[in-house]
Symmetry: C2
Subunit: 388 residues, 2 copies
Amino acid sequence: MKAFTYYNPVKIYFGVGAIENLKQELTDCGEKILLTYGGGSIKKNGIYEQVSGILKEAGKTVFELSGIMANPRTDKVMEGVEICRREKIDFILAAGGGSVIDCSKAIATVSCMEDPADFWNRLFVNKEKTDQAIPLGTILTIPATGSEMNTDCVITNWEEQLKYSYSSIHQYPRFSILDPEYTYTMPKNQLIYGSVDILSHIFEIYFSKPDENNVSDDVAEALMRNVMENLDTALQDPLDENARSNLMWDSTMALNGIIQAGKEEDWMAHKIEHALSAFYDIPHGAGLAICHPAYLSYICHKAPGKFARYAVRVMGCDPKGKTNEELAEEGIRKTREYFKKIGAPVTLSQVGIPAGAIEKIVEKILLIPASYTTLDREDLKKILNSCI
Amino acid sequence: MKAFTYYNPVKIYFGVGAIENLKQELTDCGEKILLTYGGGSIKKNGIYEQVSGILKEAGKTVFELSGIMANPRTDKVMEGVEICRREKIDFILAAGGGSVIDCSKAIATVSCMEDPADFWNRLFVNKEKTDQAIPLGTILTIPATGSEMNTDCVITNWEEQLKYSYSSIHQYPRFSILDPEYTYTMPKNQLIYGSVDILSHIFEIYFSKPDENNVSDDVAEALMRNVMENLDTALQDPLDENARSNLMWDSTMALNGIIQAGKEEDWMAHKIEHALSAFYDIPHGAGLAICHPAYLSYICHKAPGKFARYAVRVMGCDPKGKTNEELAEEGIRKTREYFKKIGAPVTLSQVGIPAGAIEKIVEKILLIPASYTTLDREDLKKILNSCI
């Protein structure tokens, strides 16, 4: 195992009715609350009313930032920052999925900058360190990004067609409320894309060095099997509390640091996807279903033993009489077939991205040193061309 | 999954050389440090010298409490409390295994009580809440109890022959340093008993309701397989860094709340063992190797499906043509055989506990509502009689 530091102070309230802990959590978070949410689904499913009631009962002064959509953008961050600075917001309460939480984290950090104007370059491009953020709490409605229990946020700069991440220890939510019932009314597509996102996070960590026997990989395999089993159940019966509970906790566990312990991690597939959705505003999980298997196919010969292990332990491939290379390919093929089966797109054309766009997309991909191998733009072009 | 709250703010520094983080962690922990340790093995393996050097360099005034032995007792706690109160200790640094850490946690809490004299009855018997403790950090040398990343401590009252636990959120270590190299010189018995203890913690959580498909059980299975694989390796090659790393992180993961998420937990086998070692001062892991399989045999008919799952997924039993009941028994038999193979005792006579002592031991066992079934003293007598 590689040396690591693990520190994650987020308090998780999990289970049906977990919202009952909100009032107590609000006691020492100040008077002025910014409630952030997305397109209004929380008004339809009753969460808005429930949360507003608790805020009112707690005697808080509530401001709102609504309309935070998928792939949240810099201008939405600035809209929130203006409210926070103008109203001297004490605490941000984010109710939604990863986009709402990520946007809220960025607002929390940028609001505390002396001069927020150039936050994009300073934080998201140059990764400047910040030493504070407005404290925030989350109420999760879409299991997917894991943002409810980590320090990261991903924001899109639509003008520059860039989608970058920023991480700060001050962006840990103080608490996150995870009620599986809140996910019952999630549109089917979000359930599918969210689950692909969870699997993709696990891939990024699992398919990285070191590969020798280590407990983090064992735990990652358990999580991957669990996501697939429970997604299948949730697709058949959207009201299955147990399947919803598992998926919700899987999303958190995939990216709260536990399976990252002692691993290098990779994240190249995410960088490819970020370029896809920065140009075409497709759902993150849809982009990942397309490019992640293609990326794995391209690099699997660098670590055939690990990919063979995945094929057998996670995708149920029979190893008899097969080489590691054959098993590796079979495992990835089965993954792509699985994505097809659950209704995720597996080609660029399915989401309306023309082959002719690959060149410009590739130019925008953030090249990073990945784990098994480091790619250049020619490699990336080949990978995206294999997704047409 | 059952509703749960998860909160664990312990900062973990893991890996060879992790001690280099100690100096920085000491910056805001005050001037007066109580260094606690056991029988002096840290003086032989160089850890004492290394830590003392860092404390000196950091300009701390250091007091020491040494000689904390396995099954730490109330009088040792009071010895530490006297130092803390007399010297106004700011921070406790515990270097050792679970006994050293547990004793240090108790000292940390009891030192802050207005009147420490009756701490046993108030905290360990009546579980009175406390609202503070001297902050502490740990340097782990024996992977076993998981105390390095949780709120619990277990203390023995030798006069009353009772071994009870106390838990307080203020007993979370501020940081824990986990260097697998620190475990290389551990006596073989401690390696074996520590690993049994890790497995036993996982059993207590895994063999409890709810049993339906849940990610915590999947993760628990991954951990159990990992412990057995890596113990086998570490027994063959005590200097195998990877095996030592896995065992060390397994011990932490077994009891840091992660696999407890959504589970009832049981802990009856631990209560039985606590009575054994409160009377006979045997190593905790030795007692568990004797009584835990016997306990599982006694209750397995209450959840044959779960025990069959364990047999297949963890102990590698072939399910073909077998009933769940048969598999359940086979899985437990294989567990007992595994304990024998690694050199742990599996009968009371092996550790010098006579059959005639069972009656008085049973009287001291703390009866708790367990998960699958709740036992009375007659049941406990039968279980211990099956261990003769």
